[in-house]
């Protein structure tokens, strides 16, 4: 069997910039251009540019189907606003985490994880066999502009006033004369935008942002930095921190649940809450220099009782951090635990999430 990774419309740009490429969710994506550390720092201190075109987009026009499949009550979501929500299976396991855009011509646009876009589409289609559902991920490019200088940079390239766009809201406009959906969202813990445009315009938009951003210290940033940034911001990564065997309560995502409406998985989640959880996601701060990683065991006095779901260095904080699943009794901040790092019990303590919050949120 030959497995061919898909390429985004920005593939040639990455090659030209000398990126190290990697297969992520079936897509050939830049892992890093120069250094994950430098790209991470650029996003925290200046601005970083991301190719997110591997993300999937699914157009779902049927309000009733959306209400039935998504964990959050969407009736209050006004046009031009975005919500984070989950798709769950009948057992309450998380199929995917998605952004829901309430679009002007009715219904929703779901932005879903790259590796799940086709299975998400099949799932939605199976609940709406003849309904208006379209898998449009391969028709759209997506470019992330993230960091304290992102808003100023994008503003210089668009006549649309950006100040009025709240966090988790979007408008349609032109950036560098490219028709875009300008969305004030991100996966880095910084202010900034995600810009959706047609595939054919992606290169033009990318190059214009890189050129105009020179004055801001812009750097193209790969998936390596995206992962260290989202971890500091306490954002879960589907496939690492949750999967279809994880229920939203375990993952600390109860705020995405509208349990007073009927949605697929609701009853199982309510039952799980009543019978009590076996594990919950916590933040861990390492107390020595060991680096916790996905799959490492979490110990208490040497006894294994949990597992690390994501871990790495925190370049911004200067220590190492992890998200881990542990029994609910051990989730209080400052609880002392250990992580089994190659046979040594490395000391850690529970801390509240997120690890990092940007200094002046809008």
């Amino acid at each position: 069997m030959v497995v061919t990774a898909e390429r985004t419309p920005l593939y040639e740009e990455h090659v030209r910039l000398g990126a190290q490429m990697t297969n992520f969710g079936g897509w050939l994506m830049p892992l890093q251009y120069t250094s994950i550390r430098e790209e991470h720092r650029a996003v925290r201190e200046a601005v970083g540019l991301f190719d997110l075109s591997h993300m999937g987009e699914i157009r779902l026009k049927d309000d009733a189907v959306a209400q039935r499949l998504l964990t959050r009550d969407l009736t209050a979501l006004r046009t031009g606003r975005v919500q984070y929500a989950l798709l769950c299976n009948d057992d309450g396991g998380i199929i995917d985490d998605v952004l829901v855009y309430a679009v002007a011509d009715g219904g929703y646009l779901l932005v879903v994880n790259a590796g799940n876009q086709d299975s998400d589409f099949d799932w939605i289609r199976s609940h709406s066999p003849d309904g208006p559902v379209f898998n449009v991920g391969r028709e759209w490019a997506l470019v992330g502009v993230q960091g304290p200088r992102a808003v100023g940079l994008v503003q210089r390239l668009t006549p649309s006033p950006l100040d009025g766009i709240k966090y988790y809201a979007f408008i349609e406009g032109r950036v560098a004369d490219v028709a875009c959906v300008i969305s004030r969202t991100g996966y880095t813990g910084e202010d900034g935008f995600e810009l959706f445009c047609g595939n054919d315009d992606a290169g033009r938009l990318w190059r214009a942002l890189l050129e105009e951003g020179q004055a801001d210290g812009i750097r193209p940033a790969g998936l390596g930095a995206r992962d260290t940034l989202r971890l500091e911001a306490g954002m879960r990564l589907y496939g690492n921190d949750m999967d279809d065997k994880t229920n939203p309560l375990e993952a600390g995502l109860e705020w995405t649940l509208s349990l007073d409406k009927d949605f697929i998985g609701r009853d199982a989640i309510v039952r799980a809450r009543q019978s009590g959880l076996d594990r919950r996601l916590v933040g861990l701060k390492m107390l020595d220099r060991s680096i916790p990683r996905h799959g490492y065991r979490v110990l208490r006095d040497g006894r294994p009782l949990g597992v690390v779901s994501s871990g790495n260095v925190s370049f911004t904080l200067g220590y190492n951090i992890a998200m881990a699943y542990v029994p609910p009794a051990l989730t209080e901040p400052q609880t002392r635990l250990e992580v089994d790092v190659r046979g040594s019990a490395a000391p850690a303590e529970v801390v509240s999430l997120p690890f990092y919050k940007r200094p002046h949120p809008k």
Partner: protein, 128 residues
């Protein structure tokens, strides 16, 4: 081009440079480029005995943890303490200030490659 004269190389991408009865050991430019940003090294202590081809320690980058192997045998004479606070030296200058340990009482390893043979070996590696 960094000066690698007098260095020999292992197929696990370490270099060794012998100077009198001391051998300095590090990882190659190819190795650092494959690892990406180095963030931590777990290293032996002075006085420890290492075998040629035996495990020397662990090098961690943002991407992954990888084992290091000692190209020659010997007793650990010195460990680069600078790397504790500046692991990035391994990326910036792998043949210079990014050196990792020094050994004495060296037991040589005839299986090591010279520069030309190592270059050919790297060219034969599948691209990452």
């Amino acid at each position: 081009m960094p000066d690698v004269s007098g260095m020999r190389f292992s197929e696990s991408h370490e270099w060794v440079k012998q100077d009198g009865d001391t051998a300095t050991i590090g990882i190659t430019e190819y190795a650092q480029s494959q690892l990406g940003d180095v963030i931590y090294l777990e290293l032996p202590t002075v006085g420890q005995q290492l075998d040629a081809g035996g495990r020397l320690g662990v090098i961690e980058s943002v991407k992954a943890a990888s084992d290091l192997y000692s190209p020659v045998g010997g007793e650990v004479a010195d460990v680069n303490q600078e790397l504790k606070d500046h692991p990035e030296y391994v990326n910036q200058d792998p043949y210079g200030k990014g050196w990792i340990i020094k050994l004495r009482a060296i037991k040589d390893n005839p299986k090591l490659l010279d520069e030309k043979a190592y270059d050919d070996f790297v060219k034969g590696q599948a691209p990452a």
